[in-house]
């Protein structure tokens, strides 16, 4: 039974997955168990993405199905689901840039891979990253940018983190649009990630748990 949901959700069979969830809830199954199965399925989705069996549309679709499952399960939850988180990651699209598709995908992948993600949104001023690092004690910061103006915004953000005396506390990864290894050097970041799974791998490498 449990394996069914894991397999079927990982295979992106929306109708079947929702049916199983409804049946299990009707049969009085533990809602937390259902969520745990869903989480395991999402791990498989992430692995398939990593292996280039799945692509961004598959991630988006799996995210939608997961949302529907959570909506079904939530009313039945008697206590809040306790999720053990691997660590905290701050993410945002840097100042001047309002693009968010790539950032949202990285956020989603970090989330389903067990990280607590603080998504600051788009056009985020350097100071806001600094404040969030102080507030949350996160060890990883992800800077996203699509436009070439983001080169300098990223550089300024990392300089602001440095000026605040926090540079040694965090690892910084960059990604999106025109970013590459040259821009990693230019901005002073610790790493460049070419896709969402690269972001997850870096976070795991830096925080542990992978």
């Amino acid at each position: 039974m449990a394996d069914d949901l894991v397999t079927i959700l990982a295979d992106l069979k929306e109708k079947e997955a929702l049916e199983i969830v409804q049946n299990r809830l009707a049969a009085g199954d533990d809602p937390l168990g259902i969520l745990d199965d869903a989480r395991r399925a999402m791990e498989t989705v992430g692995k398939r993405f990593e292996n280039s069996e799945y692509f961004i549309p598959d991630l988006v679709y799996s995210g939608e199905i997961l949302k529907e499952i959570t909506d079904l399960v939530k009313p039945k939850l008697t206590k809040a689901a306790e999720v053990k988180r691997l660590g905290k990651v701050i993410i945002g699209t840097v100042s001047g840039d309002i693009h968010d598709i790539g950032k949202n995908i990285v956020t989603f992948m970090l989330d389903v891979n067990g990280f607590e993600v603080y998504d600051l949104g788009v056009d985020v001023p350097p100071q806001q990253f600094v404040d969030k690092i102080r507030e949350t004690d996160s060890n990883v910061v992800g800077l996203s940018g699509f436009l070439t103006l983001a080169f300098d915004s990223m550089k300024e953000t990392i300089e602001a983190i440095k000026a605040a005396g926090l540079r040694d506390e965090v690892k910084v990864m960059i990604g999106g649009g025109q970013m590459n290894e040259d821009i990693k050097k230019y901005t002073g970041a610790d790493a460049y990630g070419a896709n969402a799974m690269a972001g997850v791998s870096l976070a795991k490498q830096w925080i542990g748990g992978g």
């Binding site: 692509f55 549309p57 679709y61 001047g96 309002i98 436009l147 070439t148 103006l149 080169f151 590459n180």
Partner: protein, 436 residues
Amino acid sequence: MDKTEEKLEEWCSAQGIQFKDDEAEDAYRKRTRRLADAIQLKVPDRVPIAPLVTFFAANYVGLSPEEAMYDHDKAYAAYKQTALDFQWDTAFSHMIAFSARWLEAFDYKQLKWPGHGVPSNRTYQFVEGEYMKADEYDAFLEDPSDFLIRTYLPRISGTLAPLQMLPPIRMVLPYYLGLMFMFGVAGAMGTASALESLVKAIAEFAKFSASTAAFGQEMAGLGFPSIFGGMTQAPFDTIGDSLRGTQGIMLDMYRQPDKLQQALDLILRDAIQMGVISASISPSPTVFIPLHKGPMGFMSIEQFKTFYWPTLHKLMLALIDEGLVPMPFIEADYTDRLEIISDIPRGKAIYWFERSDIFKAKEVLGDRVCIKGNVPSALLCTGSPEEVKAYCKKLIDVVGKGGGLIVDGDIGIADEAKPENVRAMTDFVKEYGVYR
């Protein structure tokens, strides 16, 4: 002579251009010939360099993006000075700066521009949204024009919002005074303000297009053709960018693939017309097609073959049938789908690559299409002139071998490119790119 050759010869003949002097005329002919040869995979006298200029031109002369979007004369002067200083094979107009007043007239929602959502020193940016909901395919498919007028326009324009109050547009027909009723109702519903905004937008657009047309004429007269003719989009991008949004269209591929296919087929017809009509008012026979949602990562090869490529392929073939030269701007990375897009008649298109492996592209596509690109923005913005030259050397040695290369930046000349790097790229291509 086939149709493409005819059109290109017409372009090279420079008919109707008032040249400043014989030198300018000679330069114009040489430049169009160079481009026409590269497009047709003949060996030109040297590798052409024909960049899209973005807001680099504004930055280069110290004009803020805001000024460039509000003051057409200043924008004109900036793009002219840039073209004259760098002496590329083509001039690129201030068309890219748009008209902020035109956007204002519509209270346009699909862009944020300086003073309207982004600061004055930033360029405009596209705002994606779900401007057509998942359950609105039927309404769109049944009567696209009605859907666009009464549902889509009110969502992408604040001033056109009252159009949503109109009765279906076809109601002008079933009764003999239908027109009177239609706009009688329209007046009562407050649509007069929407129509007034249209009048204002038309006036603003007229000023803008007069300015860009004058630019084209003056620069041609000085010896600089434009490589940008018409423009259109891949049907999948039209639905993804303008109607459903990235997330929406990705879900549609799973949840309602048939409806998506029907909409793609419907939009194909309009995409062809858009390319043909826009190219007909330009001397250059190229049709610019920016590609957004089909690269590696964004969809699997299967999805690409099913949803993205078929209508793009038909669009390009239809344009080629008209003698036009499709110029898809292949954004992001297509390295794993180069074989698929190589299915195109020889010497009739320009493929402009951004982040694909352009050297692999030469192997796979070199005998089919002219390749444009792709000096990385990262280099132009943060590298040194020496690094830029080294990249251009490899580009010319490998991709330029035997012709079929037009040099440009990966996304054109990026806004923040360093002038000394752009200079290095330009001078190097002109020196080293000569075919001997």
